[in-house]
């Protein structure tokens, strides 16, 4: 594979930035200006020296072909990762101008790269070793039991609170405001059931969500009740559903299935920032298996999650699915080659088939908000105050979710379409469709919408 073949676009590089400030600062460094001694290796390493303010010079090295996305090392004092120097270096590498020439890494870069190689080997060795099970199986079992008991206590308490609410009526929820729910959510955090806590917190925002809120609040209360009941009677559920309930309650799920090797097309990557945590979702599509999988990665507030896979590239790698019927979460295993550009696009369906897929998914996981779906040929169409995706052939359409209709990606999608059918990957659920990536009607690369 040539160096040119694996280079990313500027857009893909800028997607790595932890925040907009870094994006801007990185853009400014993406020209040959402040750089010297730059170089790159066929294995996907890039390095260079960047002049900082006050005469300082920073050593920056990026491994673009790391097992879990790119890794960065920079001698600057920034606590952001990647720092602006790493972003600038990658931009330099992605653009044509002053691109780092192929060559041998200087000693300082080589030491870090070699260190990384070792860690990866150790990690692989560790994985192989861990197959024999934890060192203290009895202790682990006892800890798991204690946690299950606490969750059971939490779920029981939550059931009582829901019963109280229904007995006195949802109208009282509107009056009691956020405080009631915040307190209950805190109780669920104490009960070590973060999944329940998150759902309870969501309940608090429903009464202020506009017309029709009582029906939505009843839906969410009912599904929460269903989850409590599922947990309390999990031993009577089929294995798959029981695993789904465990994951929904907030127990960590772990990869169980055999690893599946495929050429995984990166369909979408987006972050949902929280006060404490940034969650990154990466959707992958197996170009041979046709499977869609979700990788999750987390970063502390202000830091980008470590795993980064640029949209539009494909990687030859193994994925291992997590337990749970209808769950799409997977873990990234071994990567056999750096991510490379591809012309492959995911197979697509009609809007009717997309809605049916969501319905089918609920059978295995009734708490599912949405499912990943590619619409084969749809036209973004204005409909009243909002937008919809209408089948190019046929007369049905999926509405945008309210959030999706107010994002700048909407206009990129409309521009890409120009009134002609496009292929759109996104999440389809009961609130509507959230477009994440689109491909033009003719030739052309994937366009990020999120």
């Amino acid at each position: 594979m040539t160096q040119q073949g694996v280079r990313w676009t500027a857009d893909q590089v800028l997607a790595l930035a932890p925040d907009s400030t870094s994006r801007k600062a990185g853009s400014k460094l993406g020209a040959a200006g402040p750089w010297s001694g730059t170089g790159s290796s066929p294995e996907g390493a890039v390095w260079g020296l960047c002049e900082g303010g006050g005469g300082a010079s920073y050593r920056t090295v990026v491994d673009t072909a790391g097992g879990a996305g790119p890794a960065y090392e920079c001698s600057c004092p920034s606590r952001k990762s990647p720092c602006k120097h790493a972003l600038g270096l990658l931009l330099l590498w992605s653009g044509g101008e002053g691109a780092p020439p192929a060559g041998r890494a200087p000693d300082w870069a080589e030491r870090w790269l070699a260190g990384r190689g070792r860690t990866a080997e150790e990690r692989a060795a560790g994985r192989a070793g861990s197959a024999s099970g934890p060192a203290d199986p009895e202790g682990a079992r006892r800890r798991a039991e204690r946690r299950a008991e606490r969750i059971t206590a939490g779920a029981t308490e939550l059931e009582e609170r829901l019963a109280d609410l229904l007995r006195s009526g949802l109208a009282t929820a509107e009056r009691s405001g956020h405080g009631l729910w915040e307190e209950t959510a805190a109780r669920m955090v104490d009960a070590q059931a973060p999944g329940l806590a998150a759902r309870v917190r969501e309940l608090g925002s429903v009464p202020a969500s506009g017309p029709g809120w009582p029906a939505r609040l009843l839906e969410e209360c009912a599904l929460l009740h269903l989850l409590d009941r599922g947990w309390l009677h999990r031993e009577r559920l089929p294995d798959g559903l029981a695993a789904t309930v465990r994951a929904r309650v907030g127990l960590p799920s772990s990869p169980v299935g055999p690893p599946v090797r495929d050429h995984w097309l990166v369909l979408a990557q987006y972050d949902t920032p929280d006060q404490k945590l940034t969650t990154r979702r990466i959707w992958l599509y197996g170009t041979e298996s046709g499977r869609t999988a979700l990788l999750l990665s987390y970063g502390a507030a202000g830091r980008a999650p470590e795993l980064t896979l640029p949209v539009g590239l494909a990687l030859d790698a193994e994925l291992t699915a997590h337990a749970g019927a209808g769950q799409r979460r997977a873990s990234l295993g071994e990567q056999f080659a750096p991510p490379a550009p591809t012309d492959t696009r995911p197979a697509g369906v009609t809007t009717t088939e997309a809605a049916a897929r969501y319905g089918e998914a609920l059978v295995h996981d009734p708490w599912q908000e949405s499912v990943p779906v590619t619409l084969a040929a749809v036209v973004p169409t204005p409909a009243g105050d909002s937008w919809q995706l209408a089948d190019a052939e046929g007369d049905t359409a999926l509405p945008f979710t309210p959030a999706a209709a107010s994002r700048p990606g909407l206009w990129r999608l409309v521009a890409l379409s120009g009134g002609a059918p496009v292929r759109v990957f996104g999440e389809c659920g009961h609130r509507g469709f959230t477009p994440l990536t689109a491909w033009p009607a003719g030739e052309g690369a994937a366009v990020r919408l999120c």
Partner: protein, 549 residues
């Protein structure tokens, strides 16, 4: 989405919501037992119903599909240039955050030039970049025309869907193919009759661009019924393609009720040297200036008008002088400005412009007379008179204050051929340095001709040696980054080193200069790369490579 299952007992869900809202203490849904278990029973039923409703969702009916955007026949941007566009658009203003500029090129400053270059090569913008391009064009009016040209027909299609981008519909000359052409009389008349003001202005401008007479006839047909401020805007559109056939209409507009309309009509007529108005002004102006041969050297005598009569007012002379100006000199200036320059050689003893300008002028009228000639030369785009009024660039007065201000010089330079302009400014810089050259550099074609570029770099070098700080020249430095020929980058290498600081120099200036020259060199190299990314171009004869900055 719709819940469209016809067999769904919809009332059940409504009943559940009603009971939940009131509370099971007050209402128990049918089929469930009252008492302690009622809430759980209600939640069970609601859970089943929620999942059932969600699982039964179907797509809704589609709204009418939007009409597809017009085809853009232009070739796609090369991949490297498309990546560059992303970078340029990401470097929004404010990214710098003030303070020192460092040595990195300012990408946003390069966007206008890049747009001019892609437009010269006729590339189409990548569709997904259109929203960012429209946003850039919205924020910066200086970018607007070039950005919209590059964005092409699909951007106008988008602008019709997003009220934030309506400006694009107004700003595009010719409407980007969306306005009816002169031949499409039915649509033209309908739009001219019923369109919004902005649409009508755009329509008139677009027709004027293609068929000057048709536009004037369209305007004349409804002229008496238009509002005064609209008449002013419409009249202004006749500047494009102004010709002798417009004269009768403009003469008629001289009698307009609105003073501003009258003044604009008079200004347009005076730019037509053969018009009756120009002839009337020639007589009036000619009567004010004469050569006096009684002294040792021939001298110009000025006799300013004693009154502003009705005829002068009708021909657009503004009677009321601004505060602080004498009425007679105010009228005189307007007469000379509107009179055809061609009358003066015959009137002043067969002398050419150069000799006329060289004549002494009696009684302090020189400034007034020369300023009026400058305005006339610009209005009539007369290179001979401009040359004469500019004088040699090395003349001691050229550095100011002089009879002709720098702003007027810049306008005069605009009437000269491109090469001559650059040569004059190079000469000016060589003689007077950089501090006054900024405005003059702004009217020179980009990239700067070799002698001009060298004189700027030499002058910057001299300023450095003189020990001043580079930010005293930040305006010129910024222009140089955008306008210097990238081929000159190598000549800067000698200037990059931090020099030893002489005792009398400003502290640290050497380092700042080195930094400024580094940024200049890097920007020039970046510009060269950006141009390369666009691929070769067939140059049109006599056209500068890129437009003004």
């Amino acid at each position: 989405m719709n819940t469209a299952d016809p067999s769904s007992p919809a009332p059940l869900w409504e009943e559940l919501v009603g009971a939940a809202l009131l509370g099971t203490d007050r209402r128990t849904p049918a089929g469930t037992a009252p008492g302690r278990t009622a809430p759980a029973a209600l939640l069970d039923a609601a859970a089943a119903e929620t999942v059932r409703r969600r699982a039964g969702l179907r797509p809704g009916p589609a709204a009418p599909l939007p009409e597809p955007a017009a085809e853009d026949p232009r070739p796609a941007l090369p991949a490297a240039a498309a990546r560059r566009l992303h970078l340029l658009l990401a470097g929004r203003p404010g990214a710098g955050g003030g303070g020192r500029r460092g040595t990195a090129p300012d990408l946003m400053e390069l966007l206008p030039q890049w747009l001019t270059a892609v437009n010269a090569r006729g590339f189409a913008a990548p569709a997904e970049s259109l929203p960012a391009l429209l946003e850039a064009a919205r924020g910066r009016t200086d970018l607007r025309l070039a950005a919209l040209e590059f964005a092409g027909p699909r951007a106008l299609w988008l602008a019709r869907l997003n009220p934030d981008w309506r400006f694009a519909l107004r700003a595009t000359p010719g409407g980007g193919g969306t306005l009816p052409g002169p031949a499409d009389t039915r649509r033209v008349e309908a739009l001219w009759r019923e369109g919004l003001f902005a649409e009508r202005v755009a329509l008139l401008a677009s027709i004027r661009f293609r068929d000057a007479d048709a536009a004037r006839e369209l305007l004349a047909a409804t002229w008496p019924t238009e509002r005064a401020e609209d008449r002013l805007m419409f009249l202004d559109s006749l500047r494009t393609g102004l010709n002798a056939r417009d004269e009768p209409f403009l003469e008629q507009a001289l009698a307009d009720r609105s003073r501003n309309v009258r003044a604009t009509a008079a200004e347009l007529l005076s730019a037509l040297p053969d018009s009756a108005l120009a002839a009337r002004m020639a007589v009036r102006a000619g009567a004010c200036v004469a050569v006096d041969h009684t002294g040792d050297t021939p001298t110009l005598l000025v006799e300013a008008p004693h009154e502003c009569d009705a005829g002068m007012e009708r021909d657009g002379v503004s009677a009321k002088a601004p505060p602080g100006r004498g009425e007679r000199s105010w009228w005189f200036g307007q007469l000379v400005e509107a009179a055809p320059l061609a009358i003066w050689p015959a009137r002043l003893g067969g002398r050419g412009p150069e000799r006329i300008v060289a004549l002494p002028v009696a009684d302090d009228w020189l400034g007034e007379l020369h300023a009026a000639w400058c305005r006339a030369a610009v209005r009539q785009r007369d290179a001979d008179w401009s040359r004469a009024l500019l004088g040699p660039p090395s003349a001691p007065g050229a550095g100011g204050p002089g009879a002709v201000s720098l702003a007027e010089r810049a306008k005069l330079l605009g009437t000269l051929p491109v090469a001559e302009r650059a040569e004059w400014v190079a000469g000016f810089i060589a003689a007077h340095g950089l501090s006054e050259a900024f405005q003059l550099l702004g009217v020179c074609a980009v990239p700067w001709a070799t002698p001009l570029g060298r004189s700027v770099v030499d002058a910057l070098n001299i300023a450095r040696d003189a020990g001043s700080y580079p930010w005293s020249f930040s305006g010129v430095m910024g222009l140089a980054e955008r306008c210097l020929d990238p081929a000159e980058a190598n000549r800067l290498d000698a200037l990059l080193a931090v020099p030893d600081e002489p005792e009398d120099a400003s502290p640290g200036a050497g380092g700042y200069w080195a930094e400024a020259f580094q940024r200049l060199g890097r920007t020039l190299r970046l510009r060269a790369v950006m141009t390369e990314e666009l691929g070769p171009r067939e140059p049109a004869a006599g056209e500068p490579e890129e437009g003004p900055p």
